[in-house]
């Protein structure tokens, strides 16, 4: 069984492309981040410098204006303040908007004396003083220098924008100290940074796609020959030995290709030689068969003519005629079985399945071997379903298997009972042949199907078996996709179980009869 593999583990190309893209993603991410942080730092710095110098000039201008109106009438001062406010909030180049907040710092004397000087506090867009970060106000109250801070700016309607707060104390004549704040919107800067970020992202994605594509193209150059090689190799495995790889260049892949081709040529040559050898042998066996059969037929007829008249001969010649006939029988059977074995070896044995009824076949085999299974004192008992067991198999082969198993059991039963049983399932049929003879050792079980093998070489053959019967029976069973199993124990007899698929060629999925007869009812 082949394991279920993810597509990734099945394709080298996918693996290489994926890892290349993942690694490139890391690299692009790192470079992109570094680039972005450098760019944004630079942009922020430039914008800060611009804003600060802007602010400086506004504050300077304000101080200068206020100095000019020092000592003038409050109307003139008011006009001066308004002018400052107007020039301050006119938008510069890099901001989208700019706010101004002017907060009067009430001096202690002023509060204590309760004589209030004019208050020129102002805020554009009615911003509240709370919009200004507290730290900045603390800082501004401490020193007269220019201070700045980045912070979000909350408008009264709830809008929040990123902003740069720049503040300084100014003195408005006839009124006192003021905290003057300029708030620069960073919306434009943010837009610039977004643009930079988006461009970087887009570049990164395009770069990754390109890397993926390039990797695919490169990998394909390597993988395609490998795939070709794999395809050709698998065709080769299926038996098409003429398959070769196309070698076009002289790179490493091409070296692999020509090495493969050399191997293929060598294998094709060897197989060709072996096939030829096998053909020669098959033809030889076939010729031998023909050449042996014709004289054997003559021999057979001649011996039969002699045998038929043995009563007229003197006893020695009569007995010789009997032996001659018997040995010709044996010779003929041996020749037949040898030919069958050679057919299996040459893999030319063909299954000829027909539909037939199994129990009738078994009964006939028993009868043919001279046992009357119906008789009360019969040595063989046959236990089968009372209804017909129809199977699709090669009648001749199944008959031969049963004949071999039963005559084998008769040979080794020492006259003790033999039990034959037939059972069926939906997918398979099984027939067991159990004898209670001398049995065999466990070590013999592996060899019992070997050709010309005998459990006990010193034991005489009673029925003149050829020593090929069980071996042929096993081959016959396997030709059906069935199995033939043997069990035996010394002193406990032996058991052979034939399991066949109901329809020859199907797979058997179960063994309806266990080979060990003692495990029957477990």
């Amino acid at each position: 069984m082949r394991l279920q593999l993810s597509p990734l583990s099945q394709s080298l190309a996918a693996k290489v492309i994926l890892s290349t893209v993942l690694l490139s993603l890391g690299v692009v991410w790192l470079t992109g981040s570094a680039l972005y942080s450098q760019l944004s730092d630079g942009i922020k710095e430039v914008s800060l410098e611009t804003s600060l110098s802007d602010a400086r000039s506004i504050f300077y201008n304000a101080r200068y204006q206020f100095l000019l109106v020092d000592g003038q009438s409050s109307e003139i001062i008011k006009a001066g303040v308004d002018e400052i406010i107007a020039t301050s909030i006119s938008v510069g180049i890099i901001e989208s908007s700019r706010e101004l907040i002017l907060i009067k710092i009430f001096s202690r004397e002023e509060i204590e004396s309760k004589v209030l000087k004019p208050d020129y506090s102002y805020s554009s867009n009615s911003l509240l003083s709370s919009a200004i970060p507290k730290e900045l106000r603390d800082e501004i109250s401490d020193s007269a220098v220019l201070v700045h801070q980045y912070a979000p700016l909350t408008y009264n309607d709830g809008d929040v924008i990123e902003a740069l707060f720049v503040g300084q104390r100014v003195n408005i004549p006839g009124s006192g100290q003021y905290e003057m704040y300029l708030v620069f919107s960073l919306a434009n800067q943010g837009a610039t940074l977004d643009l930079v970020q988006n461009s970087l992202l887009l570049t990164g994605i395009v770069l990754l796609l390109l890397i993926g594509l390039i990797t695919y193209l490169v990998v394909r150059q390597v993988v395609r020959p490998v795939r070709d090689a794999a395809r050709v190799a698998s065709l080769f495995t299926q038996g098409d030995f003429t398959q070769r790889l196309l070698v076009k260049s002289s790179d490493e892949i091409a070296t692999l290709g020509s090495a493969f081709n050399e191997m293929a040529a060598s294998i094709e040559g060897q197989i060709g030689r072996l096939e030829n050898l096998s053909k020669v042998q098959q033809r030889f066996v076939s010729d031998v068969s023909h050449e042996l059969r014709t004289p054997l037929t003559t021999l057979r007829m001649a011996s039969d003519v002699i045998y038929a008249q043995r009563d007229e001969f003197d006893p020695v010649i009569a007995r010789s005629a009997e032996l001659l006939t018997a040995q010709i029988d044996r010779f003929e059977k041996l020749l037949q079985e040898l030919l069958e074995v050679s057919r299996f070896d040459a893999e030319v044995a063909v299954l000829e399945p027909t539909d037939f009824e199994l129990t009738a076949l078994v009964r006939r085999c028993i009868a043919d071997l001279g046992v009357n299974v119906e008789a009360a004192d019969s040595q063989i008992t046959f236990d089968a379903p009372h209804y017909p067991v129809h199977i699709r198999a090669d009648f001749r082969r199944v008959e031969r298997i049963m004949r071999n198993l039963i005559s084998n059991a008769l040979d080794h039963s020492d006259g003790k009972p033999i039990e034959i049983e037939c059972v069926e399932t939906a997918n398979e049929v099984a027939v067991s042949v159990r004898d209670h003879g001398e049995g065999m050792e466990a070590a013999s079980l592996t060899r019992v199907f070997d050709r010309f093998w005998r459990a006990d070489p010193s034991r005489a053959r009673t029925r003149g078996g050829t020593g090929l019967g069980l071996s042929i029976a096993l081959e016959d069973a396997r030709l059906h996709n069935g199995e033939l199993d043997a069990w035996g124990a010394l002193g406990d007899g032996a058991n052979f179980v034939l399991t066949l698929p109901r329809i020859a060629g199907n797979q058997i999925v179960a063994r309806p009869l266990p080979v060990n007869p003692h495990r029957r009812n477990v």
């Binding site: 023909h290 057979r300 001749r396």
Partner: protein
Amino acid sequence: MTLVMVVDDDQDLAEMLGIVLTGAGIDVDLVSRGDEVMDVFRNNPPDLVLLDVMLPGLDGVEVCRLIRAESMVPIVMLSAKGDTQDIVAGLEAGADDYMVKPFKHPTELIARIRTRLRRTNADQKGLLTIGDLVIDATAHEVKRGSKAISLTRLEFDLLVALAKEPGRVFTRDSLLSEVWGYRHSTDTRLVNVHVQRLRSKVEHDPESPKIVTTVRGVGYKAGVTEES
């Protein structure tokens, strides 16, 4: 006296066959080459031909075809190879039966020959009908209307066997024993090939037979006789 032509290139086997057949009261004509068969056959027509497959001059299957072209004489093929294609080729060329060398017993060969010879004098007398065919067993004739159909003796016997018992389903085994005289051979190819040959001669459409119908999984039976 009955005459059997033995065609075999093996001199010794041919002589032995001669001894055995003569012993059984059958005259024998020995021929050793395939290309000599037709001359001898025409000069002295035998009652049965025993024909080896492997012959010098002309192949046994070819000889069989030549004999069949001019005679309905029973032909029994002898084959040294039990291979299917040889046997089927012989049967399709018109042989009635075949035997694989070496024969189980020479007596079996003689029994087989006698069966083939006896069958030619069919025990059935009178008229039989099967489908739209009329069989005149006495005259050994099969007619569709006024048109006579030429059948080999074995094909005739096969048709008569089916027609005699119109309701009965014959298994291949029972046909083998009744028509060929086999005791329990199970070579169903013999039946299948001959049923096909018979159908090709008597059926209107051999693809959908009406005279010799197949009973799936069992065998064959006679088609329904048309009331006229």
